[in-house]
Each structure stands twice: as C-alpha cells, then as structure tokens.
Amino acid sequence: MNILEWVRFLLTAVCLLSGLFILVASVLGVYKFDYVLNRMHAAAMGDTLGIMFVLLGLIISAPDVWVIIKLVLVIVFLWVGNPVGSHLIARLEVNTNPVWAQQVRDARQEWEEGQSDGRL
C-alpha cells in the first residue's frame, strides 16, 4: 500500500512538472516568436498538451471517481475548444494578411472550378 501511494505521488509529480514545463515553453514561445502563426502554434501547444498533463496529474491524485469524471470532461471540453480557437486565429490571419490573400483567392477559385467540373 505504501509503495502504491509512493508510485501515485511520483506519477502525479511527473505529470504536473511536465505540464508546467510545456506551459512555460509555450509562454516563452509566445514572447519569442514574431509571426502570428508561430505564436499561435506555441500558445495552442500549451493550451492542449500542457493542460492535459496538468489535469492528468490531478486525475491520478484524485480521491474520488466523480472528480475523475469531471476532470476528464474538462479535458474533453478543452480539447474541443482550444484547437478550434487556434484554427479561427489562423484563419483570420490567412484571410486578412495581404501576403496570403492572393494564394487564398487562387485556391478558392481552383476549388470552385473543380467543384463545377465534378473533380472534387
């Protein structure tokens, strides 16, 4: 029993520390990178992987089944929500940046032509 407790504590600590490491790395990335998409990538990394590790650590150390269920639901919610948020930021950047605008227009035209031809 004592050994099991120790294993549990160690697993919790490892999960929490790795989660914190990823969060710190993502914060550093947000400040270090210059371009929107790079920064968004760093931020999204922390939002999904880092928070998953932290919550995994909490799940391992949870005293109750209901707490575990709630934490799993939180992970599911974050994993549905955060990538969509990052996707929206990336989409806005691609739509509004003049560097990408022409490529986007070409791709859309190609796609529409393909649809009308029946290729896609």
Binding site: F77, V84, H87, N95, T96
Partner: protein, 340 residues
C-alpha cells in the same frame, strides 16, 4: 480746442469713450488726439515718420524676441535629444522608484495594522457575520450561505448590480449602435459594416460549426444548471448568466447573425430585461415591506437542499441570470457589428 480738453482726451476715460465712439484701439487714441491738435502738413508728416520709426523698432524687437525664442526651442530640442533624454529618463526612474516604495510602505503599514487572519477580534467577525452563518440557512432556506446573503439579506444591493448591468448595456447601445434610416433601409455605414463582418468573421466555418453544434447545448445546459442551483451550490445568477451568454455568443459566431436573430432581437432584449428587473423589484419590495412591518410574507421556504426551496432566491437568481446573459450577448453584438 482748449488745453483742458486735450488733457481730458489723454485720460483713461477719454480714451475709452473715443475708442467706443470710433472703434479704434484705446491706446492709439493719443495719435488721433495729436492729429486733431496739429492740422498742418509738416507736423503730420513728422508724426507719421516718428510712427514708422517706432513701428520699425517694434518690428525689430519682435523679430529679435522671436529669434531668441526659436533659438531657445532649438536648444531645448537638442538638449532633450542628447543629454536631456538621459536626465529625464533617470528622473522618471527615480520618481517611479520613489512612488513605488511609498505605496509599498503605505500598504505594508496598513497590512501590519490589520488584525491577524481569522482573529475573533477582527471587525469582519462581528455579530452580523455570525448571524449569517448560524441562522442563514434557517432564515433564508438556502444551503449556499452566499446566495442567501446576496439575494435575501442584501437583495437590494444585487438589484442595483443588475440595474448597473442593464444601464451599461443601454449606454453601449447608445454609443455603438449604427441606426437605420427612418424608412427602415440600411445606411451606407451599416452596409459597409456588414460586408466587413462577412469578410473577416468566421461565418460558415465547418470546423467551428461542428464543434459549436456539440458545445453550445452543453454550455447552455451548464449555465442553466449553475443558475438553478445557485441556492444549493457555488454559483448563481451572475456566473450562470455569464456562461449562458458565452454559449449564445458561441452560437452567434458559428451560425451568423441571420440565424441568431431568429430568437434574439432588440425586442427580446428589452422584454427579458424589463420583465426580470421589474419582477425582481416587485418581489423584493413585497418581501421588504412584509419584513419591515413584521407581517408573514407567506412565501414557503421549503426544505433546505431541495431544488424548489429557499423562497424567492431561486426566481431572483433566474432574473439576474437572464439579465446578465442578455447584457453579455448585446455587448458582443454591438462591439462586433453595431447592431443585433
């Protein structure tokens, strides 16, 4: 023209009257006076020459003063660009350090003089707090003491908070709403805003729509749960209303204004806010009137812990939640497009 008269013309009163009558400067009247006094040509010419000389001297003086000013301004500019930047930067740093240290010392001093955390002698631990904790559940029927406090003992305060939210929404409406023309056709500004909105906002985004289809019902359900359980668990009208508002905003972002305006328009906003705030005010007026006069209010408190319990707290939570949700949604719409 007698001498006495001329002297009178040079007095303050005379100058003033002359300036009133002829519309000239009061201080120039000396010249007019002199021209009046000596009508012969040579004297006039001499006076004119004297005046031009004086004018030239004056101009020279003005030009010199201007040059001096320009020189001074340039000196200041150069100083501020080279040496002054360092000096002023150091001054700012010094001042900020002094201000920070002063504030820290003041706050620390305050904290040092406060009673210890949890000390029974602290002014926060008085008979009011003790009564809330001991008799709160019995008197209000709410398991959540905070809900019992803010919606029963101090309900008047919460009414003010909800009204503040409503007034804030009205103010934002006044400032940011883009009006239509009188015959109902959209103005140029509105059309431009719509086009901008369609170009940059994520309408018809399949990823967002797919996730919103899953998340919106869950978010709305969670918000309703938090509102309805306000008297049983942490939460209540404000937090639940914020969650419901977030759900509405998510729906709006995913499916666009056309679909959101099917169930939420200005009319919905006014109706819901009016109904909630007036119901709140009337219900609390009734219970304050009963309480102040010692009449039993006749509202059953129910068994603590049941969902239908604690008298007025549950309907009041619902009212606050509706006001908060509407306010959040209206804020978002107005900041995004200038209209619902």
């Amino acid at each position: 023209m007698s001498k006495r008269n001329r002297d009178w013309g040079n007095t303050l009163q005379g100058r003033f009257l002359r300036s009133m009558r002829f519309g000239c400067e009061p201080l120039d009247s000396l010249l007019v006076q002199r021209l009046d006094a000596s009508r012969d040509e040579s004297a006039v010419r001499a006076l004119e020459a004297e005046d031009t000389l004086r004018e030239l001297q004056q101009n020279e003086r003005v030009a010199m003063a201007r040059d001096k000013q320009v020189d001074f301004a340039q000196d200041v500019l150069e100083w501020s660009q080279s040496k002054g930047r360092k000096v002023i930067g150091r001054l700012y740093a010094l001042l900020s350090i002094v201000i920070c240290v002063t504030v820290i010392v003041l706050l620390m001093e305050t904290v040092m003089n406060m009673p210890a955390f949890g000390s029974p002698a602290a002014p926060a631990n008085n008979e009011v707090a003790a009564r809330y904790i001991e008799k709160g559940m019995e008197e209000t029927g709410a398991v959540n003491i905070v809900a019992g406090m803010i919606l029963d003992y101090r309900a008047f305060d919460t009414l003010g908070e909800s009204t503040v939210l409503y007034i804030a929404a009205c103010a934002v409406l006044i400032l940011l709403r883009i009006d239509r023309q009188k015959d109902g056709t959209p103005t140029q500004e509105l059309i431009a805003e719509e086009a901008d909105d369609r170009a940059f906002e994520p309408e018809n985004d399949r990823i967002l729509q797919g996730s919103a289809k899953v998340l919106t019902p869950i978010v709305l359900l969670l918000g309703i749960y938090v509102i309805l359980n306000g008297h049983l668990s942490p939460g209540g009208g404000f937090s639940g209303g914020a969650i419901v508002g977030a759900g509405l905003i998510l729906y709006l972002n995913a499916f666009g204004f056309a679909r959101a305006s099917r169930f939420f328009t200005y009319k919905t906003f006014t109706t819901v806010s009016l109904f909630s705030l007036s119901f709140y005010a009337l219900a609390k007026t009734y219970s304050f009137y009963c309480g102040a006069n010692g009449i039993p209010s006749g509202i059953p408190l129910g068994t603590p812990g049941a969902i239908l319990s604690s008298g007025l707290i549950l309907p009041l939570n619902i009212c606050v939640g509706m006001v908060v949700a509407c306010t959040m949604y209206v804020f978002f719409c107005l900041f995004r497009k200038g209209g619902l």
